[in-house]
């Protein structure tokens, strides 16, 4: 049996969840609403995060474009994704919403610009 401690982020109450996982069976203590159970399940089976970063512009001046993934990314894939983002150079101009990267490292990841860098 695996045990986890997580803080629920669904609302500002920030319930401290104690989670026990045995195969597919998950028991949660410390939650004060059903959203805590759903959050606990997601966190111990397939934790995901929205990733944000800046990507260098392909320009003579120092310019960095803020970017984000359009959906939460499996946490295990974040280091590979960041490595890729930090090695990229983006041609200007860039507008919020422009797709800068697709399918890296897995097919479900899309990275878009959130600003122009200027």
């Amino acid at each position: 049996m695996e045990k986890f401690k997580k803080i629920c982020i669904n609302c500002p109450a920030g319930c401290h969840l104690e989670i026990e996982k045995e195969g597919d069976a998950i028991t949660v203590r410390g939650n004060s609403c059903p959203r805590g159970i759903a959050y606990a399940r997601q966190e111990v089976t397939d934790p995901r995060r929205v990733v944000t970063a800046v990507v260098a512009a392909d320009a003579p001046e120092r310019l960095f474009i803020p970017v984000k993934t359009t959906a939460p990314v499996p946490m295990a894939e974040i280091p590979e994704l960041l490595k890729k983002l930090f090695s990229m150079r983006v041609a200007l101009p860039v507008h919020p919403g422009d797709v800068l990267l697709k399918d890296h490292p897995s097919t479900e990841i899309t990275v878009v610009a959130t600003g122009t860098g200027k």
Binding site: T52, V54, A56, R62, G115
Partner: protein, 414 residues
């Protein structure tokens, strides 16, 4: 010297200023916003993480996206935005206010407006405000400065960091540094509870196994040219216990120890400030003691969510629009006081006979509590149950206000 006129002048082009300018212009007022930097958006531009706008736009936006949205609203409504221009002085006497502005492009300008909205935001407290002993060496940053360096200029502040203070910017920076390959040794917090939002504790510290040392303080910063290590100690009865002092190797320290509303301009023109919030004392129309000068956002009191900044900016804008049209608000005769378990309430005066909006901040962590508003005779005017109370989370309340000399807000155990 050039002179410009407007119905409403807005000082500061961050979330509060842009939201207020958009609303004033949408109401048909000639609105001029003055921003000292070369691009609008304020601190939102360096807050590239997501989590903004959940209440206001029902969407999770990043800082630059939120800025883009309110900037577009302001531009489309017809507000004029003056960049690279710093307001040096406000003359608030008389019906028409005069701002003295130093503009990069236009030199010294005089701006005359019927109403003024103060939206200058806040700045970070720094090491000097805390009196941390030790060397004055390279490698000591405010968390927000480090955020600007990384997110706007692509520069890393160091390789191994200690973060002093568990405010939200410090927590967000713990994740940013970790993602950028900088090792975060620990976050230390002087209080027995975290200063930041719990979602940030979860996603910025626990995801990276970064220890949060509560009831700890920095006792020294050491290094010749660059920070080499810091010493920390637990607090016992409010005093650092030096017998338990520990050394932590690092080349970088980030301070995330609170924000101070930037009110030099307000103070110089005679606006009364609240020593607890460090912001102007306002009535329920968000007007300061100088008629026609309003205030909103972090210059009024430090908020934790930008959504509430924009809500407050809307209200300041509505009041300024009415004022510029010649309407005068009723007298805000009710004195508002923060009592038990509350650090402050804003506004400081309320108007009887209408619904007033209040923001307040708790002084302690409570499990379950009741917010209670009482008259001088002890009559309960308003009450509301709260599932949790934390100093990090602002509390809001809105209710129709009957006439009384004083309202006292308290948080009671229940």
């Amino acid at each position: 010297m050039k002179t410009r006129t407007a119905d409403i002048a807005v000082i500061g082009g961050g979330a509060a200023g842009l939201t207020a300018a958009a609303r004033c212009a949408a109401a048909g007022k000639k609105t001029l916003l003055i921003e000292r930097l070369s691009r609008p958006g304020g601190v939102l531009q360096q807050c590239i993480h997501s989590g903004f706008g959940i209440h206001r736009f029902n969407e999770e936006l990043t800082g630059p996206e939120y800025a883009h949205r309110v900037l577009t609203q302001a531009e489309e409504a017809g507000a004029e935005i003056l960049l690279n221009a710093t307001v040096m002085q406000i003359d608030g006497t008389g019906e028409v206010k005069t701002l003295t502005v130093y503009s990069r492009d236009e030199g010294v300008l005089l701006i005359r407006a019927r109403a003024v909205i103060l939206a200058m935001g806040c700045r970070e407290r720094c090491r000097g405000n805390l009196g941390i002993p030790g060397e004055r060496t390279a490698g000591i940053f405010n968390a927000g400065l480090a955020q600007k360096l990384i997110n706007e200029q692509g520069l890393l502040p160091g390789t191994r960091a200690v973060i002093a203070g568990s405010g939200d910017i410090g927590l967000i920076m713990a994740r940013r540094l970790s993602w950028c390959g900088v090792k975060v040794a620990c976050v230390i917090e002087i209080m027995p509870y975290p200063a930041g939002l719990s979602r940030n504790i979860a996603q910025c510290l626990e995801d990276f196994d970064i220890p949060l040392l509560l009831s700890h303080t920095l006792t020294g910063i050491y290094g010749k040219k660059r920070v080499e290590y810091v010493t920390i100690a637990p607090l016992v009865n409010g005093v650092p216990d030096l017998a338990q002092e520990k050394k932590i190797t690092c080349d970088t320290i980030l301070f995330s120890v609170g924000l101070v509303p930037e009110n030099e301009l307000s103070r110089a023109c005679g606006i009364e400030l609240d020593p607890v919030t460090n912001g102007p004392r306002v009535d329920s129309s968000l007007m300061t003691n100088i008629p026609g000068i309003f205030s909103c956002g972090n210059v009024l009191h430090v908020h934790d969510l930008v959504d509430f900044v924009s809500d407050e900016a809307d209200r300041a804008a509505d009041s300024a629009v009415a004022w510029a049209a010649g309407e005068r608000p009723g007298e805000a005769a009710i004195t508002v006081k923060a009592g038990k378990n509350l650090r402050y309430t804003v506004p400081h005066r309320a108007e009887a006979g209408k619904t007033n909006h209040f923001y307040m901040r708790a002084s302690t962590v409570m499990d379950k509590a009741e917010l209670r508003v009482t008259s001088p005779e002890g009559r309960i005017i308003f009450s509301k149950k709260l599932r949790y109370v934390k100093p990090a989370e602002m509390i809001s309340a809105a209710f129709p206000c009957p006439e009384e000399s004083t309202y006292t807000f308290t948080l009671e155990n229940c």
